[in-house]
Symmetry: C2
Amino acid sequence: MVSGLTLYDYWFSGNGWKVRTLLRRLGLPFTIQWVDILRGEQHEPWFRAKNPVGQIPVIEDPSGRIWTESNAILETWSEGTPLLPSGHQRHQVRAWLNFEQTWIDGVISRARFRRLFPTVIPTSEAFFTAWRAEGERALRTLDEHLESVEYMVAGRFTVADIGLYAYVHVAQDADFQLTEYPALTAWIRRVAREDGVLPVADNPEAPLACTPRQ
Amino acid sequence: MVSGLTLYDYWFSGNGWKVRTLLRRLGLPFTIQWVDILRGEQHEPWFRAKNPVGQIPVIEDPSGRIWTESNAILETWSEGTPLLPSGHQRHQVRAWLNFEQTWIDGVISRARFRRLFPTVIPTSEAFFTAWRAEGERALRTLDEHLESVEYMVAGRFTVADIGLYAYVHVAQDADFQLTEYPALTAWIRRVAREDGVLPVADNPEAPLACTPRQ
């Protein structure tokens, strides 16, 4: 695998956390370049030249190739490692990552961002009410699945766990009560003990100049 | 590949369309079983036993294995065919499918469903306003990308095109004006000519009993 990767990321991002965690777990060295998404830096021309979608995280490899979309990166970069099973189990990883994208990233992550930074995208309570119903259903689905298994797929820690943990373990930032989901809470504790897993805003890679501005 | 597949689907679903189109293109025979998502049939116990997430489409293969999540199915079932390139291009397919999931399925598809069936999930105009801004940005991103390429990835028709076309070509159902995006409109015409591509609600597999109820 290549080394000398640059990760375009921002400190509180769960999607950035997914990639940071994967690279740490794989032992791949990387340099973080923060993109201040609270100031809209992801829409500036220099960044859109790398990712026209205007989103972090992005990996730039030493040959200049660009790798976007956190869940896509989880699967691509774990290929051939124990973090990605094969066959039908690989499909299950892929399906859970898609579930994450719609119901966790699309719901809990949005609610969290707007609670943490209420002035960036002013949002009426009607949206939070809709997200609450959808997010609770998603957490219940995960809780029921985890009643009979220790990890999401294949009985072991995979990128499905990394992808889901990112915003689930901070769902309280979006006013969800994780204590209502005992199997999910046990899984959170289990994943937290895995090598490479650090809290979402705990970035040992962060240069001092990039501590939270809020 | 296996044959004798059952596809759990519903006639107006763009996510179902993705899978129908892929299976037709691959020449894999399948039987459709409609799941009436307007009546909430996807939440009934018999269906949740197949997919605890309570979503169509679902493929059940002859050995009883279950394959969920339309974008995951697109990648899994196109493996080893010209519809899925390799290496960095494969990552690009994966990344565009993730983009689709957040900004097309998560935005345009939602707006479309609630415009087509306004009584199923009553929705205030504030949501449509938010979806309009996000959907327009997504369509603009696709339009700009397609100014210099004929297909999304690898210069040929891939599952990235199938995934994106599903809800983009019916975006007018959600009040988007596709004529504002000329490169995207040209791509829609191009994809419509591909083998296996039929309009979303045109299901030759549909039993007569399952024509639209509206």
